[in-house]
């Protein structure tokens, strides 16, 4: 029983898990979306409302990424590099959006900005719409993906310890310099994973957004919502065709990550 045999066994086990759990569902989606032929598939994905929904989804994902990356770096830095009371509670609070049912995540914004919410009179007075409009969609997406980046960074920076940073600080380096020169090189892969994860999740988010969207076609319908609407209209094929756009975007994102990762690692080496 050499290490080679173990290696092959482990790889095969992983590969079969991924095949059964991930690849087969994906293949199912693609099979369905092509069921009525290529021409009809193309007409579904180039539909006016599909394109509109795609744009909105990309916008929401872009804002989400920006917000959550900033938050991720700052929160991981403050949690792992300093000692303070209530750290566990803070970490747990950051995790909360993960554990909240997407339905509730959407509902909380309705309970603030909706007609039954406490901030509604204020919104009316300023003539601003949050829920059932684009800002609400962005907000809901940010909420559900909020911990992604920080969650990726915290265990990583924890296992790293902060001796190097402390040494640098004793030598008088500023916070930003320490981050840039010492911390960042260690965490850049983790950060990248977090960002990619966040992007993938933001693109596919359905539950929370569905509650705050109002499903106004061409205005507040995101791509996953459009998939759901088509599905509920008894258009299974069309809905899976639109879903396959999301799959393709996800695959593009993942390829990009691999290229970036490869380049950066070669620079290092």
């Amino acid at each position: 029983m050499g290490s080679k045999a173990i290696k092959i066994a482990l790889i095969l086990l992983s590969a079969s898990f991924v095949t059964i759990m991930l690849i087969l569902p994906l293949v199912t989606v693609l099979t369905y979306s092509m069921r009525q032929g290529w021409r009809i598939f193309v007409s579904y994905i180039t539909d006016y409302y599909t394109i509109k929904a795609l744009n909105l989804t990309l916008l929401a994902a872009a804002v989400t990424l920006a917000v959550n990356t900033v938050f991720g770096i700052f929160s991981a830095w403050s949690i792992t590099k300093f000692r303070f009371r209530g750290k566990q509670a803070l970490t747990t609070l950051i995790d909360i959006p993960f554990s909240i049912s997407p339905i509730i995540a959407g509902l909380v914004f309705i309970l603030i900005f909706g007609r039954i919410g406490w901030a509604y009179p204020l919104m009316e007075a300023w003539n601003v719409k949050i829920v059932f409009a684009v800002p609400g969609i962005v907000l809901a997406t940010v909420f559900v993906t909020f911990p992604f980046v920080s969650r990726e960074l915290i265990p990583l920076m924890q296992s790293q310890g902060s001796e190097e940073e402390e040494a640098a600080a004793l030598m008088g380096a500023s916070g930003f310099l320490i981050f840039r020169k010492i911390t960042f090189p260690h965490i850049k892969w983790g950060l990248l994973y977090g960002v990619i994860l966040c992007a993938a999740r933001a693109l596919g988010e359905f539950g929370a957004v569905s509650v705050v969207s109002g499903h106004l076609r061409g205005k507040t319908n995101t791509l996953p919502l459009h998939v759901e609407v088509l599905f509920n209209e008894f258009k299974l094929t069309a809905s899976f065709a639109v879903a396959s756009i999301l799959v393709v975007i996800a695959i593009i994102v993942l390829i990009l990550r691999n290229i970036v990762e490869y380049r950066l690692k070669r620079e290092d080496g």
Partner: protein, 343 residues
């Protein structure tokens, strides 16, 4: 050093708050010159309204010389009603159930007496509950008695989570009520036998259809007539529609959401939009989209498509209206819960 920490903290906080308010800033719609109305509807009406909106746009331009832009929204009926209550500013709603529209009235957004605002209790088109069975009807299911026999597998959505599924329950109850001479206990037994045969209780009508059609579960799907037609259309030749001897008149309701329409200044167009649903052209369009036109003359033009012999009870006469039916059957701890608890 100390001072700068504090000021940086404040600066960071201010910056972020600024970003958020900037986002809140890009506000809603508003088109100049032309009028814009939003129609919040339920799931399977998309094609109907896509076609109807074209018809109405031409009509309004002819009549008023004004361009009208119509934004559609589709989703589960109850969820859509909730959206409107929570601030989704629809000018008109065209939902599956009178009860859902009435919730919007209770929230103070629709004026009282909306049911009588348009003809036929504000239901321009109707539907009913039918059985969708597999090709050749292998279990020979013809009526409600057949589907409660042991061994028959039924697929229906959950009346608790799907408004539309409440019609299924009520239709079965009405049938049993006739058969058992109004004996409530016998009716409960009948419904209990029916739900004992339910193998998958999806949360929505579409989920049930997928379960039945795509995943091959069950012998019979209880469905709205128009949705049964849509399933047949997606899978020609695989399924048959069986109309039971007695069913229920399902009346999807329409209403102007008065408060929002007044706010947007679209009352006139919104009213006209719904009234025009009763015109002959629109009625025919509804028939072609598998809804039964409420105009009896137009309905007769579709006698080949719909089984017009079925006896249809209506909810007001049979159950004393939505509120009463909701309280008696579907509220927490009411008859539907009891049926499951008694197993």
């Amino acid at each position: 050093m100390k001072r700068s920490i504090l000021s940086k903290t404040i600066a960071g906080a201010l910056l972020l708050t600024g970003v958020f308010t900037a986002f809140a800033g890009f506000a809603s719609d508003n088109a100049a010159g032309k009028i814009s109305i939003t129609n919040v509807s339920y799931d399977p009406t998309r094609e109907l309204y896509e076609q109807y909106n074209k018809l109405f746009r031409a009509y309004w331009l002819r009549e008023k010389g004004q361009e009208v832009e119509i934004t559609q929204s589709h989703g589960g009926s109850g969820k859509q009603a909730r959206g409107v209550i929570e601030g989704n500013e629809a000018d008109v709603v065209t939902l599956a159930l009178e009860g859902d529209v009435d919730e919007i009235r209770k929230a103070g957004l629709i004026d009282a007496g909306w049911v009588k605002e348009f003809d036929k209790n504000s239901a321009p088109y109707t539907s009913t509950i039918v059985f969708l069975v597999r090709k050749g009807n292998p279990r020979n299911l013809k009526d409600w008695d057949d589907i409660i026999k042991p061994g028959v597998e039924i697929i229906t959505p959950d009346p608790k989570s799907s408004g539309g599924a409440r019609w299924n329950f009520l239709a079965a109850w009405a049938f049993s009520d006739r058969k058992n001479g109004g004996n409530e206990e016998k009716n409960k037994e009948f419904l209990k036998a029916l739900f004992a045969n339910v193998t998958v209780l999806d949360s929505g009508a579409r989920g049930s259809t997928t379960t039945f059609v795509e995943n091959g579960q069950g012998d019979v799907l209880l469905a709205w007539e128009n949705e049964a037609f849509l399933s047949q259309k997606e899978h020609p030749g695989d399924f048959e529609i069986v109309t039971p001897s007695l069913s229920i008149l399902a009346q999807p309701s329409v209403a102007v959401v008065d408060v929002y329409a007044r706010k947007h200044g679209t009352e006139e167009a919104a009213k006209a939009y719904l009234r025009y649903l009763y015109s002959d052209e629109a009625q025919r369009l509804e028939g072609r989209n598998y809804y039964r036109p409420s105009n009896p003359n137009i309905l007769r033009e579709f006698k080949d498509a719909f089984n017009l012999d079925v006896k249809l009870v209506n909810i007001d006469d049979e159950f004393g209206g939505w509120d009463a039916a909701q309280a008696k059957f579907f509220a927490d701890g009411a008859i539907f819960d009891e049926i499951y608890r008694r197993r």
